[in-house]
C-alpha cells in the first residue's frame, strides 16, 4: 500500500503553478548570470584566432598569465596590490566601522542623525567620490596642502595620488572613507541585537564599558565580524570603479595602483593601444573567481563553523 502510494506520487506531473512561479527568475538568472560565469570559465581554456575561431588550449592561458614576461609582472603586481588594498580595508575601514558602531549603539538621542550623516558617502557613486578626492587632494586647489600648513604639517604634503609610492594607499583610504558606512551598519545592527540583561549584569558588577565591550559584546558579534570580513574581501577583489575613475585604465603611475579588476578590464576589453583579448580576459576572471571562492570557502569552513558555538 505504502509503496504504491509513493510510486503514484513520483509519476504525478510537476505542478504547473510552481513552474510558473519559478520560471521567470530562473530563466533570467541562468541566462545572464550562471551561463556567462560558466562560459567564461570554459573560455579560459581556449584561445581565439583573429577570425574568432576557438581552439582548445588546456592550461596554456594560465601558464602565460603566470610566467610570460609580458603578462606575469602585471598579474602578480595586480594580485599583490589587491592584497594591499584589502589589508588597508581590514586594518582601517573595519576597525573604524566597529568603533563608530560601538559609539552609536551606546545610546544618545543624536545617534540616528550621526548614523545617517556618516552613511552619506556610501550612498554616492564611486565615480563622484573619486573626482571629489582628486579635487580635494589636488595641489592646484590646495585644500589639503592649505589645511596641513595651517596646523604646521605643510612640509608633509605631497601629491599622493600621483606618486608611485603612495597612490595605492591613498586610493585605498579614499575607498575606506566612502565605504566605512557598511561595516558600521552591520556592526551596529549586531550590537543593538544583544539582549540588555547580558550587559546589565556586568555593569552591576562594576565592569567598565571597555571591559563589557571586549569581554561580552565583541564575542557575541563574532559572526558579524566574519560577515564583514568576507564582504570586504569579495568587494575588494572585485573593485574597479574608483581606480578607473581616478587613474584611468592603466592604473598609473607605472601600474602602481593596478588591481585585479583593472587588469581584467584592460585584458578583455583593451585599452588605448592594447587590443582586447577575450580568452586571456576570461583567464584573469577565472583567477578572480578562484581567489574569491577560496575566500568564501575559508570563511565558511574556517570561521563560520567555529564561531557557531558562541551563538546564543
Amino acid at each position: 500500500m505504502q509503496r504504491s502510494l509513493d510510486s503514484h506520487r513520483a509519476r504525478k506531473p510537476f505542478p504547473v503553478h510552481i513552474l510558473v512561479f519559478l520560471a521567470p527568475a530562473t530563466i533570467v538568472y541562468t541566462i545572464f548570470m550562471i551561463y556567462p560565469l560558466a562560459d567564461s570559465l570554459r573560455l579560459s581554456f581556449f584561445t581565439q584566432s583573429a577570425a574568432a575561431v576557438e581552439t582548445f588550449a588546456g592550461i596554456r592561458n594560465y601558464i602565460t598569465l603566470f610566467t610570460d614576461p609580458q603578462w606575469a609582472p602585471r598579474f602578480w603586481g595586480a594580485l599583490r596590490n589587491n592584497f594591499v588594498f584589502f589589508a588597508v580595508h581590514m586594518l582601517v575601514q573595519n576597525p573604524i566601522g566597529l568603533l563608530l558602531a560601538a559609539l552609536l549603539s551606546s545610546g544618545g538621542r543624536a545617534r540616528a542623525v550621526y548614523r545617517t550623516l556618516i552613511f552619506t558617502p556610501t550612498m554616492l557613486s564611486v565615480v563622484i567620490i573619486g573626482f571629489i578626492w582628486q579635487l580635494i587632494l589636488n595641489p592646484l586647489w590646495g585644500i589639503t596642502g592649505g589645511m596641513m600648513k595651517a596646523v604646521g604639517l605643510g612640509k608633509f604634503f605631497a601629491p599622493w595620488l600621483g606618486l608611485a609610492d603612495t597612490a595605492l594607499i591613498t586610493l585605498s583610504l579614499i575607498s575606506v572613507w566612502q565605504f566605512v558606512g557598511i561595516p558600521m551598519i552591520l556592526f551596529y545592527t549586531a550590537l543593538i541585537g544583544i539582549p540588555e540583561e547580558l550587559t546589565e549584569a556586568a555593569r552591576v558588577d562594576g565592569a567598565t564599558a571597555w571591559d563589557t565591550f571586549w569581554r561580552i559584546k565583541f564575542p557575541l558579534i563574532l559572526p558579524t565580524v566574519g560577515i564583514v570580513g568576507i564582504l570586504t574581501f569579495i568587494g575588494n577583489f572585485n573593485a574597479f570603479d574608483l581606480i578607473y575613475t581616478v587613474k584611468g585604465g592603466l592604473a598609473g603611475p607605472d601600474f602602481a595602483s593596478d588591481i585585479m579588476g583593472l587588469l581584467f578590464y584592460r585584458t578583455f576589453f583593451g585599452f588605448q593601444l592594447q587590443l582586447g583579448n577575450p580568452t586571456m580576459g576570461a583567464t584573469v576572471a577565472a583567477m578572480m573567481f578562484v581567489i574569491i571562492l577560496s575566500g568564501v570557502l575559508l570563511y565558511m569552513f574556517g570561521w563560520q563553523r567555529r564561531i557557531q558555538t558562541f551563538e546564543l
Binding site: P15, F21, V28, M33, I34, L117, T189, A285, A286
Partner: protein, 288 residues
Amino acid sequence: MTATAAHHPPLTYRMMRRLSQLAPHVILLGYTVLALFPVFLIIINSFKSRNAIFEMPYQLPTAETFSLIGYNTVFSRASFQQYFVNSIVVTVVSLLLILLTGAMAAFALSEYNFRGNTLMGLYLSLGIMIPIRLGTVSILRLMVGLKLVNTLTALILVYIAQGLPLAIFILSQFMKQVPRELKEAARLEGASEYRIFWLVVPMVRPAIGAIGAFTLIPIWNDLWFPLILAPSDATSTVTLGVQQFLGQFVSDWNAVLASLTLAMVPILILYILFSRQLMRGLTAGAIK
C-alpha cells in the same frame, strides 16, 4: 565606603564621567565632519566664479562670487537630462522586475514542498557570493549576439540577474513568517495558487525596503556595465555620463564642480527623504 563616596563624589570622578559621556559625541561629530566636509566643499564651490574657487574655497558663495557658469557649460555640452532619464528607467524597471520575479520564485520556494526545493534554493543563491562581473566576457558576447549592445535592455537584464539572488533570499525569509492559517482559509474558499500569491505579497512589504536598499544603490551607481554594454551617449547613465564628461573637462573647474553637484544632489535629496526607511531596510536585511 559606598556611602562616603556618594556623599563626597571626588571631583576627578565626576569629570571623568562627564568626559566619558562627551567623548563619544566628540568622536562621532568629528567623523561626521570628515564624512561630509568634502561633499560640502564641492557643492558650495560649484556656485562660485573660477577665481573665488581658488582664492576662497571655504567661503559660501556671496553676491560677488556667485556664478552659474559651470552649470551653463554642463547643460550646453552634456545631455544630463537624458542621462537622468536613462538612469531612472534602468533602476526602476530593474527593481520592479527583481521584486516581481523574485517574489514569485521566493513564494514557490517558501510555500511548496516540491522535489528539488533545497537544490533550487541553493542554485538561486549562488549569485549572492559570486560577483556577476566575472562573467562579463560572455555577457558582452551574449549581448552582441542578441543585438542588445547600447540598449538599456541589456543593462536591465544584467541588473535583474545580479539582484535576484539576494532578493529571493530575503523575500523567502519574510514569506516563511506569513501565517499558514490565512493561506489555508483562502484555499478552502477555492482561491487559486496565483490568487494566494497576491494575498501574500502585501504582507512582506518590509522586505521591499531591504531589497530596495541592497539593489537600488548599486544599480544607480554602477560604472562597469554601462561602460561595457551601453557606452553610447544616448544610453549613458548618470554615473557613466559624469565619468565621461569629467574626463573631457578636467581643467574646467566650474564645469567639473557643477556636474559633480548635479550628479550628487538628487541622490542626497532622496537619501534625506528616505533615510529612515533605508536604514530600517538595511538593518532588517542584515538581521535576517
